[in-house]
Symmetry: C2
Subunit: 403 residues, 2 copies
């Protein structure tokens, strides 16, 4: 019966493919106005230009590494972890090390990060990703590690719970993504927890259209039936080889995919397979709106945190991975922020380096000594040779404190 | 009385400085043999050449960054975390976020990682360190993250317990070290969890001498009295500005410093301040042997793990940060290791991409189809357009499975 239903779905998909071909035609560039004294150069089609630029961006991406790191020792432990990590990304919902954390999810990491993140594709690739962490992540309201970012997907895209921080599974996944990033210069990002190769995500035009309320889910339904249903199923259930995109086994409402801007951009950049970067902004946004108009699991954050969120709140200052700071928690923090250069704080230098022999600063026997006198003592007295690391500026600072 | 004791210690130190100057003289290069027909070029002093090479290595180290990353948003969260991390490294045993984890330790991170790891010095600097993780670490018997490496120091060098993986303190420290590593290309290391700038650590000559039993703690005592005691105290208790080097507030027996090879190398590369890389291999090893012959806290691993080590053993496969795998745990692992390229497994490809419509491989209605026929169907049939991502090699693999 299942196969019969699938065949029926396929027939429907093929029929709708024919019926909807019109909606997939690209907008032609506007003809030059006949009133122009000279024919202006035909304005470039911004949509085509945008997609061409993204294709060029993808073409410029470096290849993933092919050789695993080889230890000179007997145990190829790092290579083992990298291979295990790749396997977990491909088999997230069936491998014994990760399946318990994603419940009934029909998704693996590789559902969105195609070919386990090896594929050169915007918003999908893991190539270079590890070099951008720790970074500020708006969703979490704080700085997050790569481990946190991975766990964000476990909680949301895969509708599961966080892998333990000290689990072999999480370390393996991070080792694998780090390997796909080898050679990339570390660049902590103060604004976004996103890889350097994925900075075009999301598509700003799709964002503007979504904010302007221009998503048309009904159009998305037609496109879905023709372009997506052959693999994802007319009920969004996912056929073999393609993940469910709605229903209880799909991503939950906390996932990036549940946001039409992110889903539309991801779809445009990655789907359909081998035809990525062909959907227009409007088409991609419409498909996203249609898919997100279907049922998805709700997202109640505490249900996706260890122990139901215990330890992720309260008065103690804890960095809340995957959870947000409250204003009170931010206010309660131990102050940091810019301070005077501690290396040039004369009183502190005196306390740390001079007071042991010369007594407290207030009643010091060497009050009034000049920088020149101090420098001479350091150079001449063996007992003060340990102070030779002080810079001239530091000696000046100590002398100033002694005035 | 304390100050009187210190003054007495200082006098003793100054006296021993004079008495021991002979032991600190460098070995002269051997004179050329008069029997030589021509005077051979004076052989280089290997010790002097080694130290000069290390000085050149240090001089070539890049500066630490000076500007904090500036967010375009209102909250300078990443900069906050970096500054907090530096503060924690300098105030580890007094700051409220870290002091509870290091008990009565007289050490901070900055005791060994001078100037909070900003100093250009082998075995001390944090510049570039974050780019070398995750890496295999022999002591832990596995792959470790930078967080693990930091926690190794909390457990051993600072004789405390591990910071929680999700603590603000650990994230801040990692953010800071990552910032000191910005621009360094990621390079996972299959052999050693050590920064690219610290690869000369430990000194191989010191290692060879230590293994040959050539450490002379009594000589180390003389050197200690003259060169170290002025700051570290005649009882190793640490004067203001210098940490204790033995006793209950010093590093424990599990620390790298408790190993004469590592301690001797670190001392040669970093001490005395502003006179680093002047002690000979023998002198540095002797000082290390003397210091390590004094009392230090014992290291019982379980006492330094959360919950007394609960969760760090047992049948479940858990990656044991800071603890070692047993042979049974390694044997019990889910196998990984090299496998055939899954992307070219024809039967698996058929199951994932073809079986939904064509039924199981064994009774497939399309058995016997050639690669050319399959490719033509993919190109020509809209219902098979979703297979356009298959490579020619993958189509060949499917065709082979269908034979």
């Amino acid at each position: 019966m299942l196969r019969a239903a699938r065949s029926a779905a396929l027939v429907a998909a093929i029929l709708s493919l024919a019926a909807c071909s019109e909606s997939r035609s690209r907008a032609a560039a506007p003809a030059p106005s006949p009133a122009d004294p000279q024919p202006a150069p035909a304005p470039a089609d911004p949509q085509a230009a945008y997609l061409a630029a993204r294709r060029a961006e993808v073409a410029a991406m470096p290849d993933p590494p092919s050789a695993l790191p080889q230890s000179t020792g007997a145990r190829q432990e790092l290579a083992y972890m990298i291979e295990l990590g790749e396997r977990l990304l491909r088999e997230t919902n069936t491998h014994p090390l990760t399946a318990p954390y994603v419940g009934a999810s029909g998704l693996t990491c590789s559902s969105c990060h195609l070919d386990a993140g090896r594929k050169k594709a915007i918003a999908s690739t893991f190539i270079g990703a590890a070099a951008s962490f720790p970074a500020f992540n708006d969703r979490d309201g704080g700085v997050i590690t790569l481990q946190d970012r991975v766990n964000g997907c476990f909680m949301r895209s895969m509708n599961g719970t966080r892998l333990p921080e000290n689990s072999e599974a999480l370390l393996a996944i991070v080792s694998y993504i780090n390997w796909l990033s080898q050679g990339f210069p570390l660049q902590p990002d103060p604004d976004r927890a996103v890889s350097s190769l994925n900075r075009s995500f999301p598509n700003p035009a799709i964002k503007a259209m979504a904010l302007a309320g221009k998503a048309v889910a009904a159009n998305g339904a037609s496109i879905y039936d023709s372009r997506c249903a052959p693999c994802h199923g007319v009920h969004g259930e996912g056929l073999v080889g393609a993940p469910p995109v709605w229903g209880e086994r799909a991503y939950n409402r906390g996932a990036g995919m549940a946001n039409n801007v992110q889903a539309g951009s991801w779809i445009q950049f990655n789907m359909p397979p081998a035809e990525e970067l062909t959907l227009t902004d409007q088409e991609a946004l419409d498909v996203a709106a249609f898919v997100n108009a279907q049922p998805h699991p709700a997202f109640v954050e505490a249900e996706h945190l260890p122990g139901g969120g215990a330890g992720y709140g309260g008065a103690e200052i804890v960095y809340h991975y995957g959870a947000s700071f409250t204003a009170e928690q931010v206010a309660a923090r131990v102050p940091s922020g810019p301070t005077a250069d501690p290396a040039l704080d004369g009183a502190a230098l005196y306390a740390a380096r001079c007071a042991a022999c010369h007594g407290p600063l207030a009643g010091s026997a060497v009050r009034g000594r000049t920088a020149a006198q101090i420098s001479a003592a350091i150079a001449g007295l063996g007992s003060m040779a340990g102070l030779k690391d002080l810079s001239a500026a530091q000696v000046e600072a100590v002398a100033a404190a002694l005035r």
